[in-house]
Each structure stands twice: as C-alpha cells, then as structure tokens.
C-alpha cells in the first residue's frame, strides 16, 4: 500500500536557512544541505526547499544549494519560490530538483502549468495554493504569500489546474497557517473530493496528533510542516511512529 508522506519544508534566503535551528550533529544550522541531510536521517519522505531570495545573485547561490543537496540526499527534492518561466523550471530541474512548486505565477499565468507539464511531465509540476475561507464551503485563492486575494474560487482553480496537467497540489490554508491548531480539515477535504491528483496538506500543524487527524479525516496523501520540524518540537520519526500507532501506513 502507498504510504502517507511526511514532508519537512525549509525556507532558504541567499543560500541560508531562515531562522537556524540546533539540530544535533548539524554543524552549521544555517546550511540547507546539512539540514536536508538531517531530515533525510529522520526519515523524511521528501524535502522541500522554498527560496525566498529576492536577488538574481541569491538565486544562483540557491541553485548551488539544490545541486549540493542532490548529491547527498537520495529522496525526492521539491523546489519552490521564484519560478516564473519554463526556463526557470528547466534550470531548477537541471540543478537536481525532482519537482518544482509553482504558486503565484501559476495563478497569473496558468499556461505555465500546461507548458511545464507538456515539456517535463506532470510528475514534476506541483501547484502550491494559498487559500482562505470566505463563507461556508467557500474559499478563494490568494497570491504573493497570502497577501493578495485574487477572488478566484478555490474549487474552480483546483479543477483548472488538474485539467492543465498539474501532477500534485500543495494546499496551504491561510486561516490555519501559523495557528498550530491543526490542518484545515474542511478545506482539505473539499479539495480532495474535487480532484484526482495527490494533495499535500500544509499549514496549521502544531502537535503530533494533527498529522494522524489529517490522514484519518481527509484524502490528503502527504502532510507538510516547516517550523514544527525546524524548531525541533517534533522529529519526522516521532510523527511517523505516532501515525503507525494509529494504523496509518507510513514508510
């Protein structure tokens, strides 16, 4: 049976992990390569790097980080942030990413999803979505890190990106993000009910039970968290042990 995936995400700026953390055995807490290796040791099923660099020079440094990580970590690597064109996708995959995650730019230019999927295959095009509730069973899509409401209905957008060839959705709830009150079960279930591609749950994980809950109550096939793993409140293996105790299949 397919295992549920636990995915840690690292924010990277100018080639350094934002908000360094004290991992045992990690010499440079700001080094994304070492952090990725640590997550790999913990049993992470995939690793996500999110580039929040604004400058052109920073981008080059970031791609070097991807290249280095791909030489040392042999689990899938997803890279998001700053991907605007097919050339950006190509460059990122060539650096060693297995998938790219596109978000704001996909909303502004949905053709990017189709072009990316046609050229590189759906399997490497993950569409990130930031969405916020506006009424019962109704959410809209935001861009620019959750700052700008595009007024697009979430479910319409999900249908559209699946049609365009997205291989996966990473769904982040703006309402849940940062609250540590658990994943946004209602929104996740609405999306899972309306598409046939894998959905990664993102935003809101605050305790170990949240991971079991999202897998028990929704069709999400993976759960992503950043700060929870980053600040070592939980390790990936602790989350997996707990899921196993709840008879959820994990690797």
């Amino acid at each position: 049976m397919l295992a549920k995936r636990i995915i840690p995400c690292l924010d990277v700026r100018n080639g350094k992990v934002v908000k360094g953390v004290n991992f045992e055995g990690v010499r440079d807490v700001g080094d994304p390569v070492e952090c990725a290796e640590e997550y790999n040791r913990q049993g992470a099923d995939e690793i996500v790097f999110y580039d929040i660099t604004a400058s052109f020079e920073g981008r080059g440094v970031f791609l070097d980080v991807v290249r280095e990580t791909a030489k040392k970590v042999f689990v899938p690597l997803t890279v998001g942030g700053g991907i605007k064109t097919v050339d950006d996708i190509r460059e990122t995959l060539r650096a060693g990413a297995d998938k790219v995650s596109v978000n704001s730019q996909a909303v502004k230019n949905p053709q990017l999803i189709k072009d990316g999927a046609d050229i590189f295959g759906s399997q490497c095009i993950c569409v990130g979505i930031d969405a916020k509730k506006i009424a019962d069973n109704k959410w809209t899509v935001y861009i620019n890190g959750g700052r700008v409401d595009m007024g697009i209905d979430l479910i319409d957008w999900v249908h559209q990106i699946e049609q365009l060839g997205a291989g996966e959705i990473c769904l982040n709830s703006i309402d849940a993000d940062g609250t540590k009150n658990g994943f946004d079960i209602e929104m996740l279930q609405a999306v899972c009910d309306n598409c046939n591609i894998p959905v990664i749950a993102s935003g809101g994980a605050g305790k170990i039970g949240d991971f079991a809950e999202v897998f028990e109550k929704t069709g999400a096939t993976a759960a992503l968290a950043a700060s929870l793993f980053h600040f070592r409140e939980l390790t990936v293996q602790e989350v997996k042990s707990y899921c196993r105790s709840k008879e959820i299949i994990v690797r």
């Binding site: 790999n40 399997q123 291989g167």
Partner: protein
C-alpha cells in the same frame, strides 16, 4: 563502467549522483560505441512513452540497446523500465524495445489518485539478485501513471496500488526494470543500485 544512456529524457543527473555516491564508475553516454564498451547499461527516463522511443530512434540507439541488453546487465528506470516491454499505449500504440514480453497501459481505476506518487512497499514474487539484502518491509519511491502488464514469472517484486503494480522486473538473464526510482528511494534504492553494480 556503467553507461547511463542520455537521450534527452529525464533527470539523468539523479542517477549519476547516486552511482557516484556509491563509488560506482559511470558516465552519461549518447553514442553506440560507449554503450558497446560499457560493462553495464542504465536507461533512465521520465515523460511520455512515444516521445522517448522517438528520441531513442533519432539517436540511433534502439538496435544497440537491444543487442547489448542480451550481453550485459541492463537496468531500465521508470519510463526506461516501461520501454523494455513490447508495446506502450500512452496517447497512441507504440512499439517498445521488446526486451521482455508485455505492454504498458494507463492505470485507469477511477477510484485511484493518479499519478501513483510516493513510497510503496516492495512485495517480492521471484528471487532477484537486485533484491539481495532488501528486507520484506522496505519502501521505494514511485511516480507514474502507466503500469506494465507482463507475466508473473518476469516480476521480481510488485506493489499494491489498485491491484498489483509490477515494481521490479527481470527476464532471468541480463534485463532488469524498476518502475520506481532507486536513485530517489533512500537506503533501499541505494542497495538495489549497489546490487546492480555488483553484477558487473
């Protein structure tokens, strides 16, 4: 030397990174002589079946791959595994390399989330040198929407996803195919690649 066939399809660097990490001598090759000179051959690939066959044909590599796969260890990975079979039905009917009998078809169970993406458990069916030291509870990483249909006797291991999905195939001689990505399957994948290197 293990020749990694570079015919324009897929992330060949991942395979090279993994072999480098294991200390297995390898190189990216795109010509007949290098494939002939190699001790073993890996055919990677992601993308669509007909497009990949077309690229192999345009590179003039189809015949040499068929010849060499009868003489030395040969491993197809993901789409490279699917190309091993006689026919593919992705968009259109298309001839494969025909190294193992069978065909490749869409996983069309409407209840299934497609692509089959993530870690799934290897269920061993037949003895295979690539599975040496691989236990009964080990997972490997898959991402695909089409699957092989072939004889049980050619399946070394399968996984469960809406029925049996051939995961590792072996013709009993030199030809191996992995539907999963051993280069992205952590320690289990590295063991399988090390075992492949050990066949030389």
């Amino acid at each position: 030397m293990i020749a990694i066939v570079d015919y324009g399809a897929g992330n060949i660097f991942s395979v090279k990174n993994a072999l480098d990490h294991l200390g297995l001598e390898c190189g990216l090759v795109s010509d007949c002589d290098s494939i002939k000179a190699a001790d073993a051959v890996i055919l990677p690939g992601v993308g669509a079946f007909p497009a990949a066959m077309k690229m192999l044909e345009q590179s003039g590599l189809v015949e040499i791959i068929k010849e060499e796969a009868a003489k030395k260890p040969f491993l197809g990975i993901c789409l490279g595994m699917q190309l091993i079979f006689e026919k593919g039905y992705e968009f259109e009917e298309c001839d494969g390399l025909g190294l193992i009998g069978g065909s490749v078809r869409k996983m069309d169970d409407t209840e299934l989330i497609i692509p089959h993406m993530g870690w799934n458990k290897l269920e061993k069916l037949n003895d295979c040198p690539l599975l040496e030291n691989v236990g009964d509870d080990e997972y490997v990483y898959f991402v695909h929407s089409y699957k092989a249909h072939c004889s049980d006797s050619d399946i070394a291991a399968y996984c469960e996803y809406g029925g049996r999905v051939p995961a590792l195939v072996h013709d009993g001689k030199y030809v191996y195919g992995a539907q999963f990505h051993p280069e992205k399957s952590g320690e289990t994948g590295l063991k399988i690649l090390r075992n492949f290197g050990g066949l030389i």
